[in-house]
């Protein structure tokens, strides 16, 4: 769990370093019917990141209200458009904010860890790279099941073939994108297929990028609404029949 440190001068790199360090970072969180968890997710994130933007993608529950109460800025889609569309709206909003230099795309369901996001921003700053992709498969902390590994492996192969980048994890929602790279993002895939598309568009910016090992928490909650095999069929069709 994330804890607050008042002094950030001597804190180790992976520890949350207080809001001042991350004042030029904006978390972009697509949000759809996550009322059960979003409040806690935003609260945890705001310990480290002062700017959190949630895009309420036409939720039918009180997700938007929960996020707002927890302290996030909430944009609202009048109708449900899909995660890709929500991400694009959030990116367009965040990249136009004055004083914001880094965007972090972050999932609303609590799978991602704030520590990982902070470390990825640190990496982007230290190595002066424009894009940091989170990857589940650079270390062995994350343990997806066999079927999931198979599906994700296929997704990685497809993404690498179509984008020319060599990533170890294609469908990871945790990414750090510097503002200049974010200007090159214009997602047309409204639904799940945006994950490949954003890699393609970020790759086209020709800006330097890295991967960073992250840990995903496969909680019962996230498992219950995770990507099924059916979903990957839909993604493939979306990518081919644009």
């Amino acid at each position: 769990m994330v804890t607050m440190h008042e002094s950030d001068a001597v804190a180790p790199r992976r520890a949350p370093l207080g809001k001042a360090r991350y004042d030029d970072v904006c978390l972009v969180v697509p949000l759809y019917n996550e009322g059960a968890v979003i409040g806690q997710v935003v609260k945890d994130a705001m310990v480290t990141f002062p700017h959190v933007v949630c895009i309420d993608d036409g939720s039918s529950d009180d997700s938007g209200e929960q996020a707002r109460e927890a302290g996030a800025v909430v944009l609202r889609h009048a109708v449900n458009l899909g995660q890709g569309a929500a991400l694009q709206t959030g990116i367009e909003y965040a990249r136009s904010l004055p004083g914001i230099h880094y965007l972090v795309t972050f999932d609303a369901d609590g799978q991602h860890q704030v520590d990982d996001a902070a470390a990825m921003v640190d990496l982007a700053r230290q190595e002066d790279v424009a894009i940091v992709f989170g990857s589940r498969f650079l270390d062995s902390r994350t343990r997806p099941g066999l079927l999931k590994r198979l599906v994700l492996g296929t997704a990685v192969w497809f993404t690498n073939k179509s984008t020319g980048l060599r990533l170890t994890d294609a469908h990871n929602g945790l990414r750090v994108v510097r503002v200049d790279a974010a200007r090159g993002v214009n997602l047309q895939q409204d639904r799940m297929a945006h994950a490949s598309e954003i890699v393609l568009q970020l790759g086209r910016t020709r800006l330097p990028w890295r991967e960073y090992p992250v840990h995903l928490l496969y909680t019962d909650y996230s498992r219950s609404k995770g990507q099924s095999l059916w979903n990957s069929v839909n993604i493939l069709v979306d990518l081919v029949f644009k």
Partner: protein
């Protein structure tokens, strides 16, 4: 047989249409000419069924009704292709509209320029002069 080549080529063309833009004027004109042709052929085949059978035999299909069935399949698949295309364009427009709306809402909620978010959120505590 001739009919096999015709059918396979037609299905191929429709599949390509599915993946490509059909929005420009040339494509639209071609679609409309094909539709007119389809109507003419339909009327002729009703008035002179023997003609349909003649064409079918020439193409290697047994009966005129079989040829008609094949033509219908092609017409149906291309209808799916164009309506899929149109639905995509429409949802694109809805997406852009909804996005504009939510970004405009966010601009209205921002009381003064330079502070992200509405005035009552904790995210506003920043002293950025930019």
């Amino acid at each position: 047989m001739l009919i096999e080549i015709v059918l396979v080529v037609a299905i191929g063309v429709v599949t390509v249409l599915l993946t490509r833009s059909t929005a420009n004027a040339r494509h639209q004109a071609i679609r409309r000419l094909l539709l007119v042709g389809f109507v003419v052929v339909a009327v002729v085949s009703v008035l002179y069924p023997a003609w349909l059978t003649y064409v079918a035999k020439a193409m290697g299909v047994g009966r005129g009704t079989d040829l008609l069935l094949y033509a219908l399949v092609i017409a149906f698949v291309s209808y799916i292709a164009t309506s899929h295309r149109r639905a995509n364009l429409l949802s694109r427009k809805i997406t852009l509209l909804a996005r504009e709306l939510s970004l405009a809402e966010a601009r209205l909620a921002r009381p003064e320029d330079g502070a992200p978010g509405s005035g009552d959120t904790a995210a506003d505590r920043r002293d950025d002069p930019a």
